[in-house]
């Protein structure tokens, strides 16, 4: 299977602080890779580097075989990102926001694309609503629509279901599963929701203090660490100092 994301020994230093200490990993086509780790472990920094928002201190990133440093625009056309920490312009209607971003991503059939996403994400009735007046669940689905407006080959998700009620959270997870199955996209998922990671991810990377401290399929990690679920593995690795530091 072709690698859509290839990360080769990337490091990121902020002055003397090493936020990411030379990590390497690949994400294959049609794969969901989970990026796990406690706060401050380097997940957001890693995602920032993949999005071209942060320049690695060293190392290389390839997306769809293109070197990020030299092909930023071409790569940004084929990836997208969702995070609860960034929002769409609040004063615009949902439709206006989706239209604006369709233009920024040079989407060809904007009307059809918005209609398709509205139907799939059940936001048709929200299209004329002011984005800032939506509930968090509605905002989340609209942000997801924006993130899919360019039919990305690679989707980066940072806590995509944080602060959502279980029903909306489940809807989003089911949608992502179906969408991935249909479009064969690659997803890098950073999440603290271990059930979500177990459900969606084929394999996971465990990060701590800027390093990858373990990786593998969720079920393999559970067996390897002698635990009953991924959350227990996460806690074990997060709390362990001697073994993994």
């Amino acid at each position: 299977m072709k690698n859509l994301i290839e990360v080769q020994d990337i490091k990121k230093n902020y002055g003397k602080k090493e936020a990411v200490k030379g990590i390497s990993f690949n994400v294959e086509e049609d794969e969901v890779l989970g990026l796990l780790g406690p706060n401050g472990s380097g997940k957001t920094t890693t995602i920032g580097m993949l999005l071209g928002l942060l320049k690695p201190t060293s190392g290389q990133i390839f997306i769809n075989n293109l070197k990020l440093e030299e092909n930023r625009i071409q790569i940004l056309e084929m990836i997208n990102f969702i995070s609860p920490y960034i929002e769409l312009p609040k004063k615009l209607t949902v439709k206006q926001n989706l239209y604006v971003y369709s233009k920024l991503y040079k989407v060809k059939n904007i009307k059809e694309r918005i209609e398709y996403l509205s139907e799939k994400l059940r936001i048709g009735e929200l299209l004329n609503s002011i984005t800032g007046e939506l509930s968090s669940g509605q905002k989340n689905r609209v942000s997801l629509a924006k993130a899919l407006v360019n039919e990305p080959k690679v989707l980066l998700l940072d806590e995509p279901t944080a602060s959502l009620d279980p029903e909306v959270g489940d809807f989003v997870r089911t949608f992502l599963e179906d969408y991935k199955k249909e479009k064969k996209i690659s997803i890098l998922l950073a999440s603290h929701n271990m059930n979500e990671v177990t459900r969606l991810c084929k394999s996971v990377l465990m990060m701590k203090n800027g390093e990858i401290i373990d990786q593998g399929k969720p079920e393999d990690l559970i067996t390897k660490h002698g635990r009953t679920n991924l959350e227990e593995v996460f806690l074990k690795l997060s709390r362990s100092k001697s073994e993994y530091n």
Binding site: L53, I73, I86, K146
Partner: protein
């Protein structure tokens, strides 16, 4: 450069302005108040001083020109700040937009914002004070163009600061024009300034623009040298601002400002 993407970013701000009546009112209100105030002041000076006897609308014309500069500069900064305030900054910078496309779109949008405020203000001057800024003739276009370029230049410089230092640089955005205004010789001839200030004023395009506006209105002559120097200094500062913006963008990528902006 993609016209589609430039248009897309323009639309984002166009929707924002047209959706909100208070925003439109805000754009129109301040220039109109400013011009009305300066209109009465200039009327007073025109009847009580000999210097302004030959051109009743000198102060008012300069007030309009200065307001255009101020609105352009602030308008550009506002567009950038809107992205930070709405926490949309990251979305914008992960969209496949070149820096040139972002700047071009903001430059066009800033012009439209300024014109929304300026046109009603200019229209007010004629019935209220019997003054037309069109008395500056064809050179009005060059003076406006010069001010527009300098306003945009200041906007880009401040936005570079926002990119590099984050939202904490916001206060500077509001004060830049006030800092430069004394050196611009907007309402008085350059000889009014102390010698050391004159030296500073001569390396800014503003002094040439406002001196020329006064020259045309008072002496009814055109000193093309002023227009030339204004454009020369504008070209220098504009190039500098673009270079600084690119530098700040790269610095922000190293520092991580882009990913934390708005938080």
């Amino acid at each position: 450069m993609s016209i589609t993407r430039i248009y897309g970013l323009f639309l984002r701000h166009f929707y924002l302005i047209t959706r909100s009546f208070p925003r439109i009112l805000d754009l129109v209100y301040w220039p109109s108040i400013q011009i009305t105030l300066w209109g009465f002041i200039s009327n007073f000076f025109a009847t009580h001083t000999t210097y302004y006897n030959n051109a009743v609308g000198v102060i008012l014309t300069c007030a309009i020109l200065y307001d255009f500069l101020f609105r352009t500069s602030i308008g550009f900064n506002m567009l950038f700040l809107e992205e930070i305030w709405s926490r949309n900054f990251t979305n914008l910078f992960i969209a496949p937009m070149r820096i040139g496309e972002i700047l071009t779109s903001l430059v066009i949008t800033a012009l439209i914002r300024s014109l929304i405020g300026l046109v009603p203000a200019i229209l007010l001057t004629s019935p209220l004070f019997g003054i037309s800024i069109l008395d500056l003739g064809i050179f009005l276009f060059f003076l406006f163009l010069s001010l527009y370029i300098f306003g945009i230049t200041l906007g880009i410089l401040v936005s570079s600061g926002l990119l590099r230092f984050g939202p904490s640089f916001e206060n500077i955005a509001w004060s830049t024009m006030f800092l430069l205004a004394p050196f611009g010789c907007i309402y008085y001839p350059i000889e009014t300034l102390p010698e050391i200030f004159q030296k500073i004023a001569y390396v800014l395009p503003l002094v040439y623009i406002f001196e020329e506006a006064r020259n045309i209105l008072i002496n009814q002559t055109v000193n093309i040298e002023n227009v030339y120097y204004a454009f020369m200094w504008n070209a220098f500062y504009f190039s500098l601002s673009i270079a600084l913006f690119y530098y700040s963008f790269n610095a922000a990528k190293n520092k991580g400002t882009l990913i934390n902006m708005g938080e």
